[in-house]
């Protein structure tokens, strides 16, 4: 999609994203160009023209950039090749910062758990792990 779009009343629309100080995209929009100046980014963050979503993009050196693949793999109950540092959460709990690239998972109760590996600006990696 083009960054610029003409609407029926002749006004030019402009796509933009808002990012926080870390480059995470926290909002986006498509508004008349004359209204851009009132779109205030978070403190320390930035407003960049163009299309992108926080799920797939981030801001690097003032440019909307695709987030790189997360290298993490799951082998049995082990997470391997984890980017350093990463945060690993299980069912949204138990956030643990990992700096040695590997995690041995264990569970005190049977069930299927969602394991999320976050290492911004890499993409999030999600795995389903079942404890019989």
């Amino acid at each position: 999609m083009s960054d610029l779009m003409l609407v029926p009343n002749g006004e030019t629309m402009t796509a933009f994203v808002m990012a926080d100080a870390s480059g995470k995209i926290v909002g986006s929009g498509n508004i008349p160009a004359r209204m851009l100046s009132i779109q205030k980014p978070p403190v320390g963050g930035s407003r960049v023209l163009g299309n992108g979503t926080g799920k797939t993009h981030h801001i690097a050196d003032g440019v909307i950039t695709e987030r790189k693949n997360n290298t993490t793999t799951l082998s049995g109950m082990r997470l391997l090749s984890i980017p350093n540092p990463s945060t690993v959460t299980i069912d949204g709990e138990n956030a643990c910062v990992v700096t040695d690239g590997e995690v041995d998972l264990s569970f005190t109760q049977p069930g299927t758990y969602t394991v999320l590996v976050s290492s911004f600006p890499a993409l999030d990696a999600t795995f389903q792990v079942t404890q019989p």
Partner: protein
């Protein structure tokens, strides 16, 4: 290697895995029905059992 031991609260896991309260009550009422032939039940229990049986009789399952 980092080790993560996830120790979830078993309460919500049990709540999710239990049979429905209706199925549990049905089993309990069937037990009470069987016991009522040999055991003196409190009047409130007998009254409730009669109501339950009246509903079952009104909406019979037939050959289902």
């Amino acid at each position: 290697m980092t080790k993560i031991v996830h120790d979830p609260d078993p309460g919500p896991l049990r709540a999710k895995a239990y049979p429905s309260v209706g199925d549990q009550l049905d089993a309990i009422w069937k037990t009470l029905q069987t016991l009522s032939a040999e055991v003196q039940m409190p009047p409130e229990t007998v009254a409730m059992l009669e109501k339950i049986n009246a509903v079952k009789a009104r909406y019979a399952k037939g050959n289902r």
